[in-house]
Amino acid sequence: MSALWSALGAGFVFGLGLWVSGMANPKKVLGFLDVTGQWDASLMLVMGGAVVVTVVGFRLVSSLNTPVFESKFELPSRKDIDIPLVAGAGIFGIGWGIGGYCPGPALTAFSTLSAEAIVFVAAMIAGGVLHKLVTRA
Protein backbone atom coordinates (compact mmCIF):
# COMPACT_ATOMS: atom_id res chain seq x y z
CA MET A 1 0.00 0.00 0.00
CA SER A 2 2.86 2.38 0.77
CA ALA A 3 4.08 1.87 -2.78
CA LEU A 4 0.75 3.07 -4.16
CA TRP A 5 0.63 6.17 -1.97
CA SER A 6 4.19 6.83 -3.09
CA ALA A 7 3.22 6.54 -6.77
CA LEU A 8 0.29 8.87 -6.13
CA GLY A 9 2.55 11.44 -4.47
CA ALA A 10 5.14 11.24 -7.24
CA GLY A 11 2.42 11.73 -9.86
CA PHE A 12 1.03 14.67 -7.90
CA VAL A 13 4.38 16.49 -7.58
CA PHE A 14 5.18 15.67 -11.21
CA GLY A 15 1.84 17.12 -12.29
CA LEU A 16 2.21 20.25 -10.16
CA GLY A 17 5.64 20.76 -11.72
CA LEU A 18 4.03 20.63 -15.16
CA TRP A 19 1.57 23.39 -14.18
CA VAL A 20 4.12 25.57 -12.35
CA SER A 21 6.57 25.35 -15.24
CA GLY A 22 4.02 26.12 -17.97
CA MET A 23 4.40 22.73 -19.69
CA ALA A 24 0.70 22.00 -19.11
CA ASN A 25 -0.17 25.01 -21.27
CA PRO A 26 0.06 23.96 -24.94
CA LYS A 27 0.40 27.59 -26.07
CA LYS A 28 3.49 27.93 -23.89
CA VAL A 29 4.94 24.72 -25.34
CA LEU A 30 4.30 25.85 -28.90
CA GLY A 31 5.88 29.20 -28.02
CA PHE A 32 9.05 27.23 -27.34
CA LEU A 33 8.83 25.03 -30.45
CA ASP A 34 8.03 28.04 -32.66
CA VAL A 35 11.65 29.09 -33.16
CA THR A 36 10.84 31.23 -36.19
CA GLY A 37 8.06 33.09 -34.35
CA GLN A 38 8.27 35.00 -31.07
CA TRP A 39 10.44 32.40 -29.40
CA ASP A 40 9.93 31.65 -25.69
CA ALA A 41 12.96 29.76 -24.35
CA SER A 42 11.35 28.96 -20.97
CA LEU A 43 10.86 25.26 -21.64
CA MET A 44 14.59 24.83 -22.17
CA LEU A 45 14.90 25.73 -18.50
CA VAL A 46 12.13 23.31 -17.51
CA MET A 47 14.02 20.46 -19.12
CA GLY A 48 17.33 21.81 -17.80
CA GLY A 49 16.04 22.18 -14.25
CA ALA A 50 14.54 18.70 -14.29
CA VAL A 51 17.62 17.02 -15.75
CA VAL A 52 20.02 18.65 -13.28
CA VAL A 53 17.89 17.13 -10.49
CA THR A 54 17.67 13.68 -12.13
CA VAL A 55 21.40 13.50 -12.97
CA VAL A 56 22.29 14.16 -9.33
CA GLY A 57 19.31 12.29 -7.82
CA PHE A 58 19.68 9.14 -9.95
CA ARG A 59 23.36 9.01 -8.92
CA LEU A 60 22.28 8.97 -5.27
CA VAL A 61 19.54 6.39 -5.94
CA SER A 62 22.06 4.07 -7.61
CA SER A 63 23.64 3.52 -4.19
CA LEU A 64 20.43 1.78 -3.03
CA ASN A 65 20.27 -2.01 -3.40
CA THR A 66 16.50 -2.00 -3.76
CA PRO A 67 13.87 0.72 -4.02
CA VAL A 68 12.21 1.70 -0.73
CA PHE A 69 8.82 0.08 -1.39
CA GLU A 70 9.57 -2.54 -4.07
CA SER A 71 11.88 -5.55 -4.35
CA LYS A 72 13.81 -4.40 -7.41
CA PHE A 73 14.53 -1.58 -9.85
CA GLU A 74 12.88 -1.78 -13.28
CA LEU A 75 15.31 0.02 -15.57
CA PRO A 76 15.55 0.16 -19.37
CA SER A 77 18.45 -2.03 -20.52
CA ARG A 78 18.67 -1.15 -24.19
CA LYS A 79 21.57 0.91 -25.45
CA ASP A 80 21.28 0.48 -29.23
CA ILE A 81 20.15 3.31 -31.46
CA ASP A 82 17.80 1.77 -34.02
CA ILE A 83 15.30 2.84 -36.65
CA PRO A 84 12.17 2.57 -34.43
CA LEU A 85 13.80 4.81 -31.82
CA VAL A 86 14.54 7.54 -34.35
CA ALA A 87 11.32 7.13 -36.38
CA GLY A 88 9.17 6.93 -33.24
CA ALA A 89 10.77 10.02 -31.71
CA GLY A 90 10.29 11.79 -35.04
CA ILE A 91 6.59 10.88 -35.22
CA PHE A 92 6.08 11.85 -31.57
CA GLY A 93 7.74 15.22 -32.22
CA ILE A 94 5.43 15.94 -35.14
CA GLY A 95 2.37 15.33 -32.96
CA TRP A 96 3.90 17.40 -30.17
CA GLY A 97 4.63 20.26 -32.55
CA ILE A 98 1.09 20.22 -33.93
CA GLY A 99 -0.80 20.05 -30.65
CA GLY A 100 1.60 21.37 -28.00
CA TYR A 101 0.83 18.40 -25.75
CA CYS A 102 3.15 15.58 -24.77
CA PRO A 103 1.79 12.72 -22.61
CA GLY A 104 2.34 14.14 -19.09
CA PRO A 105 0.83 17.56 -19.73
CA ALA A 106 -2.03 15.99 -21.68
CA LEU A 107 -2.94 13.72 -18.76
CA THR A 108 -2.82 16.43 -16.10
CA ALA A 109 -4.74 18.79 -18.42
CA PHE A 110 -7.38 16.06 -18.79
CA SER A 111 -8.50 17.13 -15.30
CA THR A 112 -9.81 20.39 -16.79
CA LEU A 113 -12.19 18.29 -18.94
CA SER A 114 -11.64 20.69 -21.84
CA ALA A 115 -12.76 19.27 -25.19
CA GLU A 116 -9.24 19.34 -26.60
CA ALA A 117 -7.67 17.57 -23.61
CA ILE A 118 -10.29 14.80 -23.79
CA VAL A 119 -9.88 14.41 -27.56
CA PHE A 120 -6.09 14.48 -27.31
CA VAL A 121 -5.87 11.86 -24.54
CA ALA A 122 -8.36 9.56 -26.29
CA ALA A 123 -6.41 9.83 -29.55
CA MET A 124 -3.09 9.33 -27.75
CA ILE A 125 -4.35 6.12 -26.12
CA ALA A 126 -5.66 4.97 -29.52
CA GLY A 127 -2.26 5.69 -31.08
CA GLY A 128 -0.50 3.55 -28.48
CA VAL A 129 -2.96 0.70 -28.94
CA LEU A 130 -2.60 1.00 -32.72
CA HIS A 131 1.16 0.66 -32.37
CA LYS A 132 0.71 -2.46 -30.29
CA LEU A 133 -1.62 -3.99 -32.90
CA VAL A 134 0.69 -3.12 -35.79
CA THR A 135 3.83 -4.49 -34.15
CA ARG A 136 2.11 -7.71 -33.10
CA ALA A 137 0.89 -8.44 -36.63
Partner: protein, 143 residues
Protein backbone atom coordinates in the same frame (compact mmCIF):
# COMPACT_ATOMS: atom_id res chain seq x y z
CA UNK B 1 12.30 36.79 -26.39
CA UNK B 2 8.57 36.48 -25.75
CA UNK B 3 6.76 35.57 -22.50
CA UNK B 4 10.05 34.33 -20.97
CA UNK B 5 9.39 32.91 -17.46
CA UNK B 6 12.74 31.55 -16.27
CA UNK B 7 11.99 31.33 -12.53
CA UNK B 8 8.74 29.37 -12.76
CA UNK B 9 10.29 27.21 -15.49
CA UNK B 10 13.23 26.28 -13.27
CA UNK B 11 11.09 25.67 -10.18
CA UNK B 12 8.53 23.60 -12.09
CA UNK B 13 11.31 21.71 -13.87
CA UNK B 14 13.02 20.94 -10.55
CA UNK B 15 9.68 19.62 -9.19
CA UNK B 16 9.39 17.29 -12.20
CA UNK B 17 12.95 16.12 -11.53
CA UNK B 18 12.27 15.56 -7.82
CA UNK B 19 9.14 13.53 -8.63
CA UNK B 20 11.16 11.41 -11.09
CA UNK B 21 13.90 10.73 -8.53
CA UNK B 22 11.18 9.95 -5.97
CA UNK B 23 9.46 7.38 -8.22
CA UNK B 24 12.79 5.67 -8.93
CA UNK B 25 13.99 5.68 -5.31
CA UNK B 26 10.68 4.60 -3.77
CA UNK B 27 9.01 2.52 -6.50
CA UNK B 28 12.00 1.52 -8.62
CA UNK B 29 10.33 2.90 -11.74
CA UNK B 30 11.20 5.36 -14.48
CA UNK B 31 8.75 8.29 -14.59
CA UNK B 32 8.05 8.01 -18.30
CA UNK B 33 4.45 9.09 -18.68
CA UNK B 34 3.79 7.54 -22.11
CA UNK B 35 5.03 4.16 -20.87
CA UNK B 36 3.15 4.41 -17.58
CA UNK B 37 -0.09 5.21 -19.44
CA UNK B 38 0.41 2.54 -22.08
CA UNK B 39 1.19 -0.11 -19.47
CA UNK B 40 -1.99 0.88 -17.66
CA UNK B 41 -4.18 0.70 -20.77
CA UNK B 42 -2.64 -2.50 -22.17
CA UNK B 43 -1.17 -4.26 -19.12
CA UNK B 44 1.27 -7.16 -19.47
CA UNK B 45 0.55 -8.43 -15.95
CA UNK B 46 -2.11 -7.59 -13.36
CA UNK B 47 0.23 -6.61 -10.47
CA UNK B 48 1.79 -4.02 -12.76
CA UNK B 49 -1.43 -1.99 -13.04
CA UNK B 50 -2.13 -0.37 -9.62
CA UNK B 51 1.00 1.79 -9.27
CA UNK B 52 0.40 3.12 -12.79
CA UNK B 53 -3.21 3.96 -11.93
CA UNK B 54 -2.10 5.80 -8.80
CA UNK B 55 0.61 7.76 -10.58
CA UNK B 56 -1.93 8.84 -13.22
CA UNK B 57 -4.40 9.71 -10.44
CA UNK B 58 -1.67 11.92 -8.96
CA UNK B 59 -1.26 13.73 -12.29
CA UNK B 60 -5.02 14.33 -12.48
CA UNK B 61 -5.20 15.43 -8.84
CA UNK B 62 -2.41 17.91 -9.52
CA UNK B 63 -4.52 19.47 -12.27
CA UNK B 64 -7.47 19.82 -9.90
CA UNK B 65 -5.28 21.22 -7.12
CA UNK B 66 -3.70 23.71 -9.52
CA UNK B 67 -7.11 24.94 -10.63
CA UNK B 68 -8.17 25.24 -6.98
CA UNK B 69 -5.10 27.37 -6.34
CA UNK B 70 -4.71 29.38 -9.55
CA UNK B 71 -8.32 29.43 -10.70
CA UNK B 72 -9.97 27.71 -13.67
CA UNK B 73 -7.71 27.05 -16.65
CA UNK B 74 -8.97 28.79 -19.77
CA UNK B 75 -8.96 26.15 -22.49
CA UNK B 76 -7.28 26.96 -25.77
CA UNK B 77 -9.94 26.72 -28.47
CA UNK B 78 -7.92 27.94 -31.44
CA UNK B 79 -6.64 24.59 -32.71
CA UNK B 80 -9.41 22.68 -34.54
CA UNK B 81 -10.23 19.37 -32.86
CA UNK B 82 -9.35 17.42 -36.00
CA UNK B 83 -5.76 18.65 -35.63
CA UNK B 84 -5.88 17.86 -31.90
CA UNK B 85 -6.94 14.27 -32.67
CA UNK B 86 -4.23 13.86 -35.31
CA UNK B 87 -1.65 15.21 -32.87
CA UNK B 88 -2.80 12.79 -30.16
CA UNK B 89 -2.60 9.80 -32.51
CA UNK B 90 0.93 10.72 -33.59
CA UNK B 91 2.05 11.26 -29.99
CA UNK B 92 0.55 7.95 -28.86
CA UNK B 93 1.98 5.96 -31.77
CA UNK B 94 5.36 7.69 -31.86
CA UNK B 95 6.07 7.47 -28.14
CA UNK B 96 5.38 3.73 -28.16
CA UNK B 97 7.48 3.18 -31.28
CA UNK B 98 10.33 5.26 -29.87
CA UNK B 99 9.97 3.92 -26.33
CA UNK B 100 9.47 7.21 -24.54
CA UNK B 101 8.44 10.83 -24.51
CA UNK B 102 9.58 14.12 -23.01
CA UNK B 103 9.60 12.59 -19.53
CA UNK B 104 10.93 9.06 -20.18
CA UNK B 105 13.62 10.00 -22.70
CA UNK B 106 13.94 13.66 -21.73
CA UNK B 107 13.87 14.03 -17.97
CA UNK B 108 14.75 10.44 -16.98
CA UNK B 109 16.79 9.19 -19.94
CA UNK B 110 19.04 12.24 -19.98
CA UNK B 111 19.29 11.91 -16.18
CA UNK B 112 20.63 8.37 -16.72
CA UNK B 113 23.03 9.71 -19.39
CA UNK B 114 21.45 7.38 -21.98
CA UNK B 115 22.70 7.88 -25.53
CA UNK B 116 19.42 6.41 -26.87
CA UNK B 117 17.48 9.05 -25.01
CA UNK B 118 19.76 11.87 -26.15
CA UNK B 119 19.16 10.84 -29.77
CA UNK B 120 15.40 10.66 -29.15
CA UNK B 121 15.33 14.11 -27.52
CA UNK B 122 17.27 15.73 -30.38
CA UNK B 123 14.96 14.09 -32.93
CA UNK B 124 11.64 14.95 -31.26
CA UNK B 125 12.72 18.52 -30.51
CA UNK B 126 13.73 18.87 -34.16
CA UNK B 127 10.57 17.40 -35.69
CA UNK B 128 8.51 19.31 -33.11
CA UNK B 129 9.99 22.60 -34.25
CA UNK B 130 9.48 21.68 -37.91
CA UNK B 131 5.85 20.64 -37.28
CA UNK B 132 5.08 23.83 -35.36
CA UNK B 133 6.56 25.86 -38.21
CA UNK B 134 4.59 23.88 -40.76
CA UNK B 135 1.25 24.15 -38.98
CA UNK B 136 1.52 27.75 -37.79
CA UNK B 137 3.43 29.44 -40.57
CA UNK B 138 3.28 27.29 -43.71
CA UNK B 139 -0.36 26.21 -43.32
CA UNK B 140 -1.46 29.20 -41.23
CA UNK B 141 -3.43 27.11 -38.72
CA UNK B 142 -3.92 28.95 -35.41
CA UNK B 143 -2.49 26.83 -32.62
Amino acid sequence: MHDFTPISALIGGAMIGVASVWLLAANGRIAGVSGILHGFVTPLAAPDVPWRAWFIAGLLAAGLAWQGFAGPVIARESLPLGWVAAAGLLVGFGTRMGGGCTSGHGVCGLGRLSARSLVAVIVFMGTGMIATYGVRHALGVAS
